[in-house]
């Protein structure tokens, strides 16, 4: 297998240029899928026979929750790549993931508690899944705290990479916590083997929203990573050429 494409991404000018070209694509894909998903989810999908119209927050809540863990996986993989191949760009990507992931986590928690009020009768329940999501938020905050506490960028990169990899242990716990403890939270509805327990009129908009969130994540991650690369390479000559100054 030819790995030159991978090594090329290790070069900051190449990454900066290619990322800049990819951002509009991801952003437009995110906009299109979000509009389609929102029209389908808020307008076309039927009301739930038990939860009425209130269930529609699922079209934001579930994608945000999925992305909160996905952002952590991306962060851990990027951190691992940076640690193993000492790739500066990978560290920049990992560093850019944390704040976005923390926001997704916060959105998932906020929409979840708004959804919980009419359905469970309470804003917050000590349900394992909610708790794991909260722990995930703390993991993000710890990661950002560690980065902030170390002045030297190279050391901050590597120390936070170790932390991100250690924190990956938490991801399976989040995923399996539904099975481990009895809980108030409804089980997995989307990725169930066999017959999906959701009609297609709800499932399709939900999947579209997941795509929209993923594309949005990719776009915003690249924007942030470009900024991070610029900050790290601020003294390099290629920057003045890239920005045409």
């Amino acid at each position: 297998m030819n790995w030159t494409w991978f090594h090329r991404f290790g070069s900051p000018p190449y990454f900066y240029r290619v990322a800049g070209k990819m951002i509009p694509w991801f952003a437009w894909l995110a906009a299109i899928t979000a509009v389609a998903g929102l029209v389908g989810g808020l307008g076309l999908a039927p009301a739930d026979y038990q939860q009425g119209e209130g269930y529609r927050i699922i079209f934001v809540h579930v994608p945000a929750a999925v992305l909160s863990t996905m952002a952590y996986s991306v962060m851990a993989v990027a951190a691992g790549v940076g640690l193993i191949w000492r790739m500066n760009v990978a560290h920049a990507v990992a560093a850019s993931c944390a704040a976005v992931g923390a926001w997704f986590t916060l959105v998932a928690l906020a929409t979840g508690s708004l959804w919980g009020r009419p359905m469970w009768g309470t804003y917050w329940a000590w349900d394992p899944r909610l708790t794991s999501e909260l722990v995930l938020l703390f993991l993000y905050l710890g990661y950002m705290g560690l980065r902030g506490a170390i002045d030297d960028t190279a050391r901050a990169d590597r120390a936070s990479a170790v932390l991100a990899l250690v924190g990956v242990i938490n991801l399976p716990i989040i995923h399996y916590s539904v099975d481990w403890w009895n809980s108030l939270h409804q089980g997995h509805t989307v990725l169930k083997f066999g017959k999906a327990s959701m009609p297609p009129s709800m499932l399709v908009p939900l999947l579209l929203m997941m795509l929209a969130f993923s594309f949005y994540f990719a776009a915003i991650l690249l924007v942030r990573a470009r900024g991070e690369v610029l900050r790290r390479e601020r003294n390099a000559r290629w920057i003045s050429e890239a920005i045409g100054a």
Partner: protein, 232 residues
Amino acid sequence: MSNATPTAVSSARAGWLLVQRDLRLGLRRPGEWLQPLVFFLVVTTLFPLATDPQMSRLRDIAPGALWVAALLSSLLALELLFREDGQDGSLEQLAVSGLPLSWLLLAKTCVHWLMTGLPLVLAAPLVATALGAPYAAIPGILAALLLGSVALSLIGAVGAGLTLGLRRGGVLLALLVLPLAVPVLIFGARATALAIALEPMAAPMYLLGAIVVLSATLAPLAAAAAVRISLE
């Protein structure tokens, strides 16, 4: 490199020597490793004062009180793990000794557990009885805390390595370690609750044991990587 010198020692011997050294150093400063124990006793005393001192009520909060106190006290003790050796350069010597650093840090963590974790376990029967646990529950509580404190020391070693030499290390250490310690807390408190209710506690104990095995396998490697990064 010491590998080339005539006095080169095997990894096992080096680990044993390190255990002896750390034990000797620790025993000369009893104040340091007694502090987490006293902290544990004080925190568990606070719970009856802050809630209802009826024994039946206390029995309900006993597992939570025991485990939160044990977690906080092990967190307090973590700063002792590498600080001294990091400041006087011993840790750097260990890192350049050519011996596997993860193995040496495992030895250090074992001593740290002996000095700060084991006293908590030994004090647990007293505290548990004071919180209304029946005598028959004591062996179960001891077993759960024994496994849990080992896991907490191992997980904490990673955090201690990452925050080594940082100015705002203390609070950051808590922020890093506490989320990682959540599974230990959950299964430990669950096992303790079952022990107090005199019910079979095998399930959470197995999971606790699995966490100990996993952290004993991986945590020294992560701690060694963290220490190396901090020493750069």
